[in-house]
């Protein structure tokens, strides 16, 4: 059996996909990192101190993990959800009572979204209390603050989509806060956001596009920069 696998790992097809052998020596372990698209966010070697669970609490990594879970469950939810006042709520009901595992899918997306807001906030606290915003990492901290805001907005735009009392009034309360901005800005911004003066059909479609496309793309770009800078500044 071992022989078969050895043959496989040596085969040309395997080698065309993974350009290195099994990570059995330090050389192949290093190759496993820098020949791999996904792993090459990492350096080949890391400080032992900086990968302790009790230093980062894994919070940055968990934020990424939650984002992945949300992307996967979110894409599946999109298959069943239509962003219109006529249908949105009944699509949620269908998810609960008709679609197999629909309720589970919804739960997973919902709880992961709440968790992400909390975890990203905690990650910020970890970075603060370990003074990890020191030069040269100042600007990565700033990107982080934007990521926190983006995370909250991502969660908030999703909150309207079920179109139940909770979401409708939650969004109404929030956009009323925006209205409080001085010099007529509030009115303008809230009009732009809702596509009108009330939370209705236009607001739903706008929040849908923001939630499923615009904000996730912005988040991914910011995360890309964030990780790249973590790496360049000598982190994991």
């Amino acid at each position: 059996m071992k022989h078969v696998f050895d043959k496989l790992f040596e085969s040309r097809v395997w080698r065309s996909i993974f350009r290195h052998g099994l990570p059995t020596s330090n050389r192949t372990r290093a190759e496993a990192v820098f020949y791999n698209f996904f792993l090459h966010v990492h350096p080949t070697k890391v400080r032992k101190r900086s990968i302790r669970y009790t230093y980062t609490w894994g919070l940055g990594g968990l934020s990424v993990g939650l984002f992945i879970v949300l992307t996967v469950t979110g894409a599946l939810l999109m298959l069943y959800y239509r962003p219109s006042v006529q249908q949105a709520y009944w699509d949620m009901k269908d998810l609960q009572f008709v679609v197999s595992s629909g309720q589970f899918l919804r739960n997973m997306h919902r709880w992961a979204a709440h968790a992400m807001v909390a975890v990203v906030f905690l990650h910020m606290l970890r970075v603060f209390y370990t003074s990890s915003y020191r030069p040269p990492k100042e600007f990565n901290w700033v990107i982080g603050v934007f990521l926190l805001v983006i995370t909250v907005l991502l969660s908030y735009t999703g909150y309207l989509l079920p179109w139940d009392q909770l979401s409708f009034w939650g969004i109404s309360v929030g956009t009323n806060m925006v209205r409080a901005m001085p010099c007529g800005f509030g009115e303008k911004i809230s009009f732009l956001l809702l596509g009108g003066n009330i939370v209705g059909e236009n607001a739903l479609i706008r929040f849908y596009v923001l939630h499923c496309f615009i904000i996730p793309v912005v988040a991914m770009v910011l995360m890309g920069i964030h990780f790249w800078r973590v790496r360049k500044d000598g982190g994991v």
């Binding site: 990570p23 990492h42 101190r49 990968i51 968990l62 139940d164 979401s167 309360v173 901005m181």
Partner: protein
């Protein structure tokens, strides 16, 4: 020259083996000189295994939670029927709680904007990079500034009757002051004495965020009056 090397390159992250280098550290960077040979480990498997474990534990926990608790779904949205109270999602309830005390411009616009700006500028203040104990410099002057600041904040909070922020502020001030009166170098007081200004401000901020969010989420009922979590409101 038959292409064969008669030497081997030595690669090592061990500072003891490779020639030492001299580094000039400009005053601008507040670098702590690190221990000479920080122990390095290979990313594969050390880090990657940890990441996989963390990710899988997260999936397990999320799955269990999703099996046990259902996401809420109330009646279909009805613009004619305002629930009392109408609440934003939990992460905005701290702000909504502030809305109860301050005018909307202050609670909905000025305070959150200030908070975000304050977070952004943290790394650009020298004092936040040095992070020396609050009482390290001129103790008398620090005391005067502290009392003046806490005093004026308290006046504002009393004026708007924001006791939910006043109480944590005053309790915390007691902790800030402890190292001033007790000169103990060890134990809790000694530890508090080493906390820098930014630590106190951030901790104050976090405590207020948590308290306000908790009140807004758990203790507010119809007309935003104080309601215990076990009192049915809907």
């Amino acid at each position: 020259m038959n292409g064969e090397k008669n030497f081997q390159m030595e690669q090592s992250s061990d500072a003891k083996k490779v020639p030492k280098r001299v580094a000039f550290i400009k005053g601008r960077t507040v670098a702590r000189v690190k221990k000479e040979d920080e122990e390095m480990v290979m990313t594969v498997p050390n880090l990657v295994v940890k990441e996989v474990i963390a990710f899988e534990m997260m999936i397990v926990v999320l799955t269990i939670i999703s099996l046990v608790f259902n996401a809420p779904l109330e009646w279909i949205a009805n613009p004619e029927h305002t629930p009392n109270p109408a609440k934003a999602p939990w992460y905005f309830l701290g702000l909504q709680e502030l809305l109860h005390y301050f005018p909307p411009v202050v609670a909905g616009v000025i305070l959150p904007t200030l908070a975000v700006i304050a977070l952004i500028v943290i790394p650009y203040f020298r004092i936040n990079l040095k992070r020396e104990g609050l009482w390290k410099e001129d103790r008398k002057q620090t005391l005067v500034v502290l009392i003046a600041t806490v005093g004026s904040v308290s006046v504002v909070l009393i004026f708007f009757e924001v006791y939910a922020m006043l109480v944590p502020t005053l309790v915390m001030t007691a902790f800030v002051l402890a190292p001033y009166f007790s000169k103990k170098e060890h134990g809790i007081v000694g530890w508090l004495g080493l906390r820098p200004l930014s630590w106190w401000i951030m901790t104050w901020f976090v405590i207020n965020v948590v308290v306000l969010t908790a009140i807004g989420t758990l203790f507010r009922g119809p007309e935003w009056t104080w309601t215990w979590p076990w009192q049915e409101i809907y």
